[in-house]
């Protein structure tokens, strides 16, 4: 019983960052029809940015996270502007190949610069975990859950209640009509990609201190994000949020009761089950967002 509670608590804490990853990817796919293979690299970029700012420049941990997220947004905007804008309207295979190229390039530039040895990020939180009845949770993980949840709510607020968010929703529903209404579609694409990238960087910046930072951490993150997005339905934000928590629970329970070695394979199991029984995802509302 205690073990089960502990697993559930861990999953809840992990789920918020998974949801961030999923929302970022599903936004970009929903609006731009781009399978963003650089998503995992922005995740590891977020983690490395925090590590670099803190260890090399001596920046405060919390400030480092904020800067990392902003840098992630900017990097995302740059990728969209330099690589995707010139091939706008190309078929999905072409954009996928370009994104794969960018993925390989980014990952290996990290490997070149940081080396293959895992880095750990120091945090200002006490080592001793918090005892909550039967379960114990580290302060860092609570911080991750709180910030992750705040970011999820903020993203919802941004999409539902701001002008830019409205423009994003309009573009999602109908590119051409949105353009006719005077929405700058190219700008919306860049903004969406920047937003999605920033969320990925935030997930990396939050999970980097929990685990270790390595150049290949993005691969697994990408695969998890894909699983989350298929689970929730491509382009569905609420689906991605719930999907993120579902994946975290399945992983945590699978690792706890089946085999810890296959923890990262759980996402694939989810993909298979979803494709077998409900290929459009669990929460599909036909082509709507927000």
């Amino acid at each position: 019983m205690q073990e089960l509670l502990q697993h559930l608590a861990n999953a809840l804490l992990l789920g918020s960052t998974y949801a961030l990853l999923g929302i970022g990817l599903t936004l970009i796919f929903g609006i731009m029809r781009v399978v963003n293979f650089t998503h995992g690299e922005l995740y590891s970029f977020g983690a490395y940015a925090v590590f670099f700012l803190e260890a090399a420049l001596g920046v405060n941990f919390f400030v480092a996270i904020v800067v990392a997220v902003i840098a992630g947004c900017l990097l995302g905007a740059l990728i969209e502007f330099a690589l995707l804008r010139p091939i706008q309207g190309a078929d999905i295979d072409t954009t996928m190949l370009v994104m794969i190229g960018a993925w390989i390039f980014m990952q290996n530039s990290e490997l070149l610069y940081w080396g293959g040895v895992a880095k750990s990020i120091k945090t200002p939180f006490p080592e001793a975990p918090l005892q909550l009845g039967l379960i114990s949770v580290s302060w860092l993980r609570i911080f991750v859950l709180v910030v992750g949840s705040v970011l999820i709510v903020a993203t919802y607020f941004f999409i539902d209640h701001t002008k830019l968010g409205k423009a994003i929703r309009a573009t999602f529903q109908d590119h051409d009509t949105a353009a006719l209404m005077g929405i700058n579609i190219k700008g919306i694409y860049t903004a969406t990609f920047a937003l999605g990238s920033g969320l990925a960087a935030a997930a990396g910046a939050l999970l980097g201190p929990v685990f270790l930072v390595t150049p290949t951490m993005g691969d697994i993150a990408s695969l998890k994000a894909f699983a989350i997005v298929i689970l929730g339905g491509l382009g569905n934000i609420t689906g991605a949020t719930i999907g993120g928590f579902i994946l975290a629970f399945v992983e945590e329970l699978g690792a706890g009761y089946v085999s810890s070695g296959y923890r990262d394979a759980m996402g694939f199991v989810i993909i298979i089950v979803i494709l077998l029984f409900k290929p459009t995802g669990l929460f599909t509302r036909a082509d709507r967002i927000g």
């Binding site: 010139p86 794969i100 190229g101 960018a102 390989i104 290996n108 691969d219 695969l223 298929i230 394979a265």
Partner: protein
């Protein structure tokens, strides 16, 4: 001339060991040839059906592991008390086993993901490769995990007069790989020039139209996936019995990237494309590696992939064909129709 060309290339291929006296270059050539077979199999899916398999290395690795385990034997305990002991078989038996097992995996993946296609197929294949890596890493009883499968025996064939002959020689193994490569090339050629191939291309170009004339989409896509996976499995088996040691690293995504870049550089959807791309990217690392770190090599691959998609979206082979076509048209005297047109106002 047209007839002579294939014979010329075959001659070049089969006399290669004579030119390449250096065993290191022969080794590189063999590895390159194995990867070209894998790239050709990827091209069948990517080039002719338009489905990007990003887990192609999974089929390659499955072929390698299945083949190696067939010839090494194993002893595993399955849940439910099922105890399976497999005594080592002759190494050559691993080759068909590798092909069949990889083909079956291709069938399952195809059946599963071609219901929805496109982005889904890409995601399913890439996840599949990662799961295979985890299985190879964690199922230690079967695969030895990170300790790798060692001492994989070389292929052995029974020759009249000589008896059992084990292929240790690089030169002989090169001919084995070359023969498999030529066989795969011919199979793909026959396939894409048949009704089936035309159906696949029709699906790629205009799916709704293809369906409306009665082409069974899922059936043809699954068929392509099975053929493609089986050939990748054959390449994997060759690889396992050539390098004689395989570990879970064989499932790394970077090998899929190598195959993809070979296909798109050479020209997807052309028979010669994967070969041209394969030769370039098989030998390029040898040149590059003496100057830069592996990470830089992969950075160059990533950048090249983007540059090729931007500048040469159809690949080298179609670009060359186009060049010769243009020259032919420039050399040729104007068409009769054009002359008639010029004559018209006078009369």
């Amino acid at each position: 001339m047209k007839r002579a060309l294939p014979i010329f290339w075959l001659l070049v291929l089969f006399t290669l060991p004579v030119w390449l006296r250096d065993p290191y270059f022969l080794h590189i050539t063999i590895i390159t040839a194995i990867f070209i077979i894998a790239a050709m199999s990827l091209n069948l899916l990517l080039g002719y059906t338009g489905q990007l398999s990003l887990g192609h290395v999974a089929f390659f690795g499955i072929g390698a592991y299945a083949s190696a385990l067939t010839s090494l034997g194993f002893d595993i305990e399955l849940p439910g008390g099922l105890h399976i002991v497999h005594a080592p078989w002759p190494a050559i038996a691993g080759f068909p086993v590798g092909i069949v097992v990889a083909g079956l995996c291709g069938y399952m993946i195809g059946k599963l993901s071609f219901k929805v296609r496109g982005a889904y197929f890409v995601i399913v294949t890439i996840s599949f490769a990662e799961v295979m890596r985890l299985v190879a890493l964690n199922w230690v009883d079967l695969t030895q995990g990170p300790l790798a499968l060692n001492n994989i025996p070389p292929y052995s064939i029974w020759l009249p007069g000589i008896g059992e002959y084990e292929i240790w020689s690089k030169v002989v193994f090169f001919y084995v790989v070359a023969a498999v490569g030529v066989a795969c090339y011919l199979i793909i050629q026959r396939l894409v020039q048949s009704r089936i191939g035309r159906a696949m291309v029709a699906l790629k170009d205009n799916e709704s139209l293809a369906i409306s004339v009665g082409i069974d989409v899922t059936r043809y896509l699954v068929l392509a996936a099975v053929m493609s996976a089986a050939m990748a499995g054959a390449a994997g088996s060759l690889y396992a019995h050539y390098v004689k040691i395989i570990d879970p690293e064989i499932f790394l995504f970077i090998y899929t990237v190598t195959m993809v870049i070979m296909v798109i550089t050479g020209g997807k959807g052309t028979l010669a494309g994967p070969i041209v791309g394969g030769v370039i990217f098989g030998f390029l690392p040898v040149v590059v590696r003496s100057y830069v770190a592996p990470a830089v090599q992969w950075m160059i691959y990533g950048a090249l992939m983007i540059v090729i998609v931007f500048l040469l979206p159809r690949g080298i082979v179609p670009a060359i064909e186009q060049y010769f076509l243009n020259r032919k048209q420039a050399d040729r005297p104007p068409d009769v129709a054009v002359l008639a047109d010029l004559d018209a106002p006078k009369s």
